[in-house]
Symmetry: D2
């Protein structure tokens, strides 16, 4: 069961129906997963903010770099133009190039893109090289396209799936997690959805409870020089609130605050990136027509606070969800990463007054 | 009593002797405070990373902007050159100019600066205009210089002092707070100190416990459009670890993660800035000598994680300290801001298993 | 006479009627100038993008930092919010604080701003400490307000006026300069205006002609270690093209390309800042009304190239204009800076086929 | 012949022996070129700042984004860590992924990298889709590795080679170009080398002479809405001056000033990136040893001006060199791009007093 079903409450805002990024109307998610013997635990996750030809109907977008020790593709163009022109792919560190190829193929697949000669694919990654024999570079562009083809609305599989197949988070098996928040009608009624690929280190907190310390599993338990480099976190934030790049960048920055609340520290070796996108039609950046001017209608900045809160809460919960969903994996060279012990964690949460 | 003396433990690393920014050898802090009738509640706080003529012995430094709705002076030069050449002053929004004047006077006060024609004063601010009649612009450059003159090593006054005289944080009276962490000898044994001027909004958490919700005092309690703009947080991070600007910027970014753990959201109206400085002699940027090259010895990036953790923990604790130290104030136009009810808060912490 | 009147043509686009920033409808410029004996050569220049209460009718704006060794006030808030809420003041390095005070006074002077408690004054500066006894800090907030009060439409005084009274540029007396470009009707017909305070070093080129080398006056003439630190350049770009902050930042970056064409190098000691603003009503950021959403109409990015060209050309010409207008000054401690020898320069331009 | 051999002098500093990036000791350049019938005109260029295993001997590096409409790989990690761990590859827009794969292969090819699981390949690109049937995606990772294998010291082929096979610049056939500058011994005697892949638009100037206007070939000749999107410029700056990332970023920014002097405007559709690297041994970032601290010796910022000048001059000349070397190509769908008419250009330069 997901944490919220178990009675764990994170934050003060209500979730959407599925408590998933797919609560944002139109968003689709697809996974391609490899679990093959002990050596191969990897995959890809595709997030389609809208269906149809996004290249011809670009969405306002921004990317915030929490810590840039990573290989995400697409950053500088999103930063310059403030728009997203492909689905988002998440995968492992050495497969970003295959994701880029897949997104070019995908874009060229639309008849009306027949003259397109430039595609800025956005591909995020974390390093699953602990559990997965990453140097093998198993994933193909076809696999990536399969992830896109698998994308659908509705419930999102979490844990050891897609790009989360081989990740490790806060000392336990990490993976894909998702969550959402709904704003009150008086504040616009918008939905904010988050999906994460969790693969980072720190001292686990669940709803503010020091679970990592209680379980004796955390990065600084041994204050020795060899505490090791750890991974990264990819966070995707999508909302139907009408926002353009400048404010989407500010939303993206807040996802790091959600990560912080799970005990994350954005460690030196981490590639922590947040991609944020608005799906609202009133801010689309369709340049197809011949007009010099574009009209748009966007939320004034004075209304952002509750959206910031929503991003923070949904990011925190998405990470916790990834940990509750992930299962123990024995991987490459016999390296074994345990799942978060859920029963024990619930006991700790009870001890700390967070569960009845 | 300070939270830690009351048994509240934040984080996993040990504090310094004073649990204050002054645990970093050589650091001095001074306040100038005005509490005058109901109308005037403001002041200035000076932080001297080293004693002596800092202009001739520049320190590596960086400033991270968590949210830039603020008037901090000195940002672009610190960003370009990576050095600090004056003490740091904190004050109210409309008194930054007076702080700049004071830092020029201070710099000109050293005989060996007699040919100096350019001074990049770093002055941070938050807006105390709720409790303080800020439009009066009461503070003078002389007052600022008094704050500098008052600077000393040792215990640091917290709460309604200096630049914290009139601030409001997470629904309660905020103010100045400070904390520190000591790294284990195996990891360098360095000290990390943080001082904050807390004036921001969100949903208060104390050591992960939802105190704001329990007390029914938080930003999103009423999900109405008029939840109001709230203030800012100035954070100063000083360490004797030998770091240059590039890594100091990364330290500064982590302070925002500490703020997040208190329930802060870096709201739209917030000016959240982190100034980070290294006092290590092996990285000083003294250009007085005639050499073309500068030798330095700095910590490799692979050793930063425990420092990141230290910054996050000390920032979280400094903010909580500011709330525990601050006292109820009735201010301008009779506006009253209550102190955090400490007894009640301790009860809540007990209920949540965080205190015996 | 101004260079263009002398037959010097810079760029391929036509200028506005006055070849000045005031060709942009509504823009006003005012100077306050001190030339007092040998010691005092300084002042302030005010640029009002629109008349009336700009605080209640904020304009999209951006600031690009070409080289950040400077003390400009207002950067981080413009960067965060993308808006300008005060006139722009230019002055000397140590008088920025007085400019900030003046802009607060100015803002408080409007009855409808009676509840305003926070003002982000934008004040740029260069260091006139060669010719001016800058440590005296002669300029007052009243002087700054006088510059604002002096602001008017129409012809703009250039050279040794206002903030340009004591500046030095490319080895000659610098100062205030301005220029403009008009876009063809087919490309929108917009006006782009630039005003500069020139105080920087390099190897002077006039319309591509190596005047600095020919005159034997340039930064690298003696390739010795003591070529000295030189100053800065403040550039203000205003247009009536409807642009928001993201694209205004890109415009601002192009002004540096104009500076490059005069022989500027953005030297280490330079504070080179570009402030760019749109005055178009369709992008104003008036938050006074109660709507959650803001409608706007802005130029699509695909139409920017000719505006980039306009910014580059007008910046180049504004700098050259400042040099042609400035006159020889003997200043502090008898330091004398010669004006560009115009007759000789025209001869050189003839030799290089740029003049008949 | 190269422009300088023809008597065209750009800037005031002397060039290195080869007037090429390979004047910096240790630098090697290799091309892989395809010219196949009319359809295929593309390739890759590899720049190796040092020979040997750069992954184990990382170099300080920075990337400046002049205009970010591009797909360069590797940006965020270089920005975060300030180091380069692979050779640099330049290629076409849709082949960046192949370059990334090649750089992983290359890195894995060193025995001592057998445990490496993460490689931040730096791959720049411009779009040769006018002359080249880019959608075919002809280039393979093997081709890229061939470019690396071809790398050698000494003379560098310019024009229609490697990544410059199909590029277009300022209305003429562009391509690869390179240049260098030597600092006087009194200023350190360092070498600064630049290599460009020129593919951008504007109004061509050669040594300040308005050649584009004279030839009637430039972007704004017809001030019509359909002036079209144009390409990009990749610039690689390498020096043996001991500099770390912070100052290398400042060097990189200056390359844009060199581009400006050729008439470039960093147009909306341009991906203009500058990669700058120091090869000095005193600043290498080798983390292999077990020390917590790293000693380094770097040039003080006060000595940068002449290096800035060198970067600007060498970038300008490298672009001009690319134009002089490139030859007319008839490409995809019969699209023909003329080489710069050298004889005519020399006549124009004579007319403008720049040639005897």
């Amino acid at each position: 069961a997901r944490p919220r079903e178990l009675g764990i409450k994170i934050g003060v805002l209500p979730t959407g129906l599925l408590n998933a990024i797919t609560d944002v109307p139109g968003v689709q998610v697809g996974h391609f997963t490899i679990h093959n013997g002990t050596d191969d635990h990897t995959g890809a996750t595709a997030i389609l903010p809208i269906s149809g030809n996004i290249f011809q109907d670009k969405l306002p977008a921004a990317i915030f770099v929490g810590n840039g020790y990573g290989k995400l593709a697409g950053y500088t163009q999103v930063e310059e133009l403030g728009s997203l022109e492909t689905p988002i792919l998440l995968t492992n560190t050495l497969s970003v190039s295959k994701g880029m190829d897949a997104l070019v193929d995908y874009t060229f697949g639309f008849a009306e893109n027949k003259d397109v000669m430039s595609v800025n694919g956005v591909v995020g990654e974390t390093n699953d090289g602990g559990l997965n024999d990453i140097r093998k570079r198993l994933l193909t562009a076809e696999n990536m396209k399969q992830a896109i083809a698998n994308a659908k609305a509705g419930k999102v599989a979490e844990g050891n799936v897609g790009a989360g197949a081989g990740t490790v988070c806060l000392g336990f098996k990490g993976g894909i997690g998702t969550s959402s928040r709904i704003l009150p009608k008086t504040l616009g009624g918008y939905t904010v959805g988050v999906l994460v690929q969790s693969n980072f280190g720190g001292v686990l907190q669940v709803a503010g409870v020091p679970v990592g310390e209680e379980l004796g599993v955390h990065k600084f338990k041994k204050l020795l020089k060899d505490y090791g480099e750890d991974g990264s976190c990819m966070m995707v934030v999508i909302t139907d609130a009408p926002l353009t790049a400048k404010n989407l960048k500010r939303l993206a920055a807040r996802a790091m605050l959600g990560l912080a609340r799970t005990g994350g520290i954005a460690s030196n070796g981490s590639g922590d990136y947040v991609i944020s996108v608005s799906t609202a039609t009133s801010v689309r950046m369709n340049d197809a027509n011949n007009e010099m001017l574009r009209e748009s209608k966007e939320l004034k900045s004075g209304n952002l606070d509750v959206i910031f809160e929503a991003v923070i809460e949904a990011t925190e919960e998405a990470i916790i969800n990834s940990l509750f969903a992930a299962e123990t994996v024995t991987g490459y060279k016999g390296y074994k990463v345990e799942a978060l012990p859920v029963a024990e964690t619930l006991q700790i949460l009870k001890k700390y007054g967070r569960l009845n």
